[in-house]
Symmetry: C2
Subunit: 315 residues, 2 copies
């Protein structure tokens, strides 16, 4: 029997933290992280994949701990000069970060798949997990607001999530195909659990589930599908999750997270602060500390999730 | 009567030094620098124009005095990370320099002309001269060597001019059109002189002359066409000029420079070290210090060239 494998679905920062914990407590090669590409966009002629890159930098130990995005030991000469040239400067690209965008764009133009390129970068960064884009097809998250529809980065970075969100759509999703490496990982005989990381359900996980076949793979999985709630004490740890839930008129609680994922999850991991909600959630719940400040927190949450998964599917 | 104008034909470093001197001694707007684009190439998906950029950085006071190319106050994070990604690193791109390449590539892809883009950058850099590419059409200098034909940057940068050069050709030149702004400057009623800067004749000036119509514009000009010899005491100041002349079996002297430009020049500026050759050169000669070490040297050579031009076409 081959070693047991785990698939994690993840967006950017919060999801990547748990993915890092999982890589550190699992044997090398046991983890596949399927990453949202709905945030990807072409900017300055370069293909930028924010969630994939955050995942690569986080798992590669290269992430910028102060900013929460981009690379550590970064310099910003490019942006400084770009401004003198009148170039668009609302999306901050560090000099080292830029190397990934330029090289990815060049390799895509040369006909390589995003999956191949990301796998190569992950190998070069010494990452022991497989990092896989959800799809090779362009799926672009579009945010519906009272002021009209916005491209994701326009909403998220340029307008700092200020416009009230009324809905989200995933342009191109209907015609998209799940990346073969993602399907392979989700249907492997060795698969022991699927983990939905504590990423933003609406902006980071829903695009993955919008790729045709992806939702069905989770519904039909013969292994536990476990979501980790991104809320701690009915607040979002980081980013606009709570703001969006309020704008959508959704109860700001892990109950709403469970409801949102109702078709696909078998179980939910809740933060200790939300322990009181456990009785109101219709799937098995595991309560533990989910806030990940230290590297030890990441590893401990990974252990909690994996232990919960084992108990859900004994043997 | 409109103010007198000057056109300088220039390659990179040596030519840009004289162009800087000319901008500093001429009234604002009086100088147009027509720049070689035969060195341009696509690299990492970016359009790179080495001679235009050296001209922009030099005239904008942004050039790197240590390297002789690129920008002052440069950082190199992009290259360092690109190497970790397995990207091509033989052509060094500084982080600030990269902004110009990325923004130019984006604007070209959006349909702007190279002339427009460079004019805008020159304006943003506060340059008082017009900087004009010789052509909008791709003209690509190819170096013929015993080991076969090489793309220019492969010969010049990757192989550091090591292969013996047997000839040069300018791919695309036959189908190229001179940039309208260059033709306009070369045919302006206000034109008082055309200066061929002390750039490499074979690699930097010949591509300009290879653009259909350009040679004729110089031959038919009713104003003096004055070349400044790039040799000082029968040595090249910088770069492979002397090596190339030897490989081509050309006498290493200003006489050969005069012969090379015979159809197009009316006069030649020689360095003091070559004063003894004056009698052997079939066009009027002005002897002065041509070596440009200080900014004062650049201005003084500019004054010498302009004074010589005035004497050649009095009134």
């Amino acid at each position: 029997m081959s070693a047991r494998t785990i698939v994690a679905l993840s967006g950017g920062i919060g999801g990547a933290k748990l993915a890092l914990g999982l890589t550190r407590v699992l044997p090398p090669g046991a983890l596949t992280v399927v990453v949202n590409t709905g945030d990807d966009f072409e900017h300055l002629g370069l293909m930028i994949c924010p969630d994939l890159d955050t995942t690569l930098y986080t798992l590669g130990g290269l992430a910028n701990p102060e900013l929460g995005w981009g690379r550590a030991d970064e310099t910003w000469t490019f942006m400084r000069v770009l401004e003198t040239l009148g170039g668009e400067s609302w999306f901050r690209l560090g000099d080292g970060d830029l190397a990934l965008h330029v090289e990815r764009t060049r390799r895509l133009a040369a006909g390589e798949s995003l999956t191949t390129i990301i796998a190569d970068v992950a190998r070069r960064f010494g990452i022991g997990a497989a990092v896989v884009p959800m799809s090779e097809s362009p799926v672009r998250t579009r945010v519906l607001t009272a002021a009209g529809e916005l491209a994701f980065q326009d909403y998220f970075v340029r307008q700092r999530c200020a416009p009230a969100l009324t809905g989200v759509r995933f342009a191109g999703a209907d015609a998209a195909r799940a990346a073969p490496a993602a399907v392979e990982a989700l249907t492997a005989d060795s698969l022991a659990a699927i983990v939905i990381c504590p990423s933003n359900p609406y902006l980071s996980i829903d695009p993955i589930l919008a790729v045709p076949g992806m939702r069905q793979l989770l519904e039909q999985a013969r292994v536990p599908v476990i979501a980790v709630s991104p809320l701690v004490g009915s607040r979002a740890v980081k980013g606009p999750t709570a703001k969006i839930m309020q704008e959508l008129g959704v109860e700001l609680s892990a109950r709403a997270i469970a409801a949102h994922y109702a078709d696909v999850i078998d179980a939910l991991v809740l933060d200790e602060a939300d322990a009181g909600l456990a009785a109101h959630i219709p799937v098995p719940v595991h309560v533990c500390k989910t806030l990940m400040v230290s590297l030890g927190d990441r590893e401990q949450l990974a252990r909690e999730v994996l232990g919960f998964a084992s108990r859900l599917s004994p043997g």
